[in-house]
Amino acid sequence: MEPLTNRSKKLAKKEMTFAEKAYLPAIAQGLGITLKHFFKKKSTIQYPEETRQRSDVWRGLHVLKRDEEGRERCTACGLCAVACPAEAITMVAGERKVGEEHLYREEKYAVTYEVNMLRCIFCGMCEEACPKAAIFLQDDKIAPARYERDEFIYGKDRLVEPLKTTETK
């Protein structure tokens, strides 16, 4: 067939030398390369036993912070959800009742707060939008692989920071 351009390389089939025809030197050379890699530093790690060091600004799993008195900071203002480019965040707001002041910081709080980790692209826009410094992306946790899609919808049970009690170390 007529070539479309004249840029294709012209190949000449060369006759092999005796050393090439014997194969054994080439095999020895190949084994040598393999042997050399036994003593080199490994490029893989034994995850999850070992983890690589992450950057300080690495964005991992979300957390809903509590304030100094252990009250939830989130007030369900919806700014994270409107800032989210992947529309991964949904929430339902509720009014704080009398006697719940030790649980929630503001008079409105998130009754449910869900992040769909399959949708989330970990861009950190929610963190940036939050006026109450409630949502953060942690630098040491990731959303692990799971078998069911439902398990990727993280509710408040998995997002809210656990209470710091005096018993825990």
Partner: protein, 332 residues
């Protein structure tokens, strides 16, 4: 007829029109903001001072400038008047100070407040204010008061614009609603917490420029930018029945009166329409409400770009029909 020059733009208006109304006739960016003035309410205006403008020439007969900045919402025009708003440094500085004054006692809890996203004070401070606060003292606080079963008053957020008082005076028959106290202690009262049981009492929610008077059926249900505004109407024996529905999916979360670009109510609606008719079957839907593109309410609404209908060829018919105020050629 009087001819005035507003920010270098000439406009001819009826005698007796206020400067603000003349500016609104021009429209766009030159219109001074207004927090207390409300066209449908007689006697409103002159309280918040955010609409201050500089009159650099009083009239054609007497061209001396007015000595101080004047409130444009209550100052009538005179023939040959020259007014400066956005072109005058003094006006912009004064407005900045007024925003700071209004925010002295107004809590900065927009993340909690239901009005956020459609709040006049929020827009005003965003456009004209400074982001820092110099006020260090405690803000005044009040307990929340229930005005009847549907309306909640949170005086902490009130900026004392008196719009609700004028609404109570003019829309409802008997006034149960006024301002008590003076200065810092002034508060909207209902005289020994009388229940407002007038048919049109719900309109005080719509006229409130901030989140001081809120709808209890809507309170904390959702954020305004997650809802979808729809124009709808129904046959109502007491009012015009022309409303805006704020939907989430097929669920009517809130009913309000239709508001124009200056968030002034076009027609007041009755309490039955506002609080009791929360089913889609109660309403005849006219179409989506047009929301300014810059507004947060239009965020995340992925409708077809109907604004540009004429420049997009082969738009499906569904995108073209039932557009409010659509020119003839858009609806072939």
């Amino acid at each position: 007829m009087a001819k005035i020059t507003f920010d270098g733009i000439e406009v001819e208006v009826e005698d007796g029109t206020t400067i603000l109304q003349a500016a609104r006739k021009i429209g766009g960016k030159v219109v001074p903001p207004a927090m207390c003035f409300y066209t449908p309410l007689k006697g409103s205006g002159g309280k918040c001072r955010v609409c201050l403008v500089k009159v650099s020439q009083g009239s054609a007969k007497d061209p001396r400038p007015m000595p101080k900045l004047v409130a444009s919402c209550i100052t009538p025009v005179q023939d040959g008047m020259v007014v400066e708003n956005t072109t005058n440094e003094d006006v912009l500085n004064a407005r900045k100070s007024i925003v700071e004054m209004l925010l002295i006692n107004h809590p900065l809890d927009c993340p909690i407040c239901d009005q956020a996203g459609e709040c006049n004070l929020q827009d005003l401070s965003y456009e004209h204010g400074v982001s820092a606060q110099r006020f260090e003292e405690e803000r005044r606080t009040f307990n929340k008061v229930d005005l009847g079963p549907y309306i909640q008053l949170h005086m902490t957020r009130c900026i004392l614009c008196y719009r609700c008082v004028y609404t109570a005076d003019q829309i409802t028959d008997k006034r149960v609603h006024g301002v008590l106290g003076r200065g810092d202690a002034a508060e909207i009262g209902t005289y020994i917490e009388n229940v407002i049981d007038n048919d049109f009492s719900g309109n005080v929610i719509d006229v409130c420029p901030v989140g001081a008077l809120t709808d209890k059926t809507w309170r904390f249900k959702n954020r305004v930018w997650f809802t979808k505004p729809l124009d709808a109407h129904r046959d109502c024996p007491t009012c015009s029945g022309k409303v805006t529905l704020w939907n989430r999916g097929d669920q009517v979360l809130r009913v309000t009166a239709r508001k124009d670009e200056y968030s002034e109510v076009e027609e007041f609606i009755c309490n039955t329409c506002r609080f009791d008719k929360k089913e889609m079957s109660d309403w005849t839907i006219e179409g989506p409400r047009k929301i300014e593109r810059a507004s947060v309410i239009s965020a995340n609404h992925y409708e077809l770009p109907v604004v540009n209908v004429p420049i997009i060829p082969n738009l499906p018919k569904s995108a073209k029909k039932d557009l409010p105020n659509a020119p003839e050629q858009w609806n072939p």
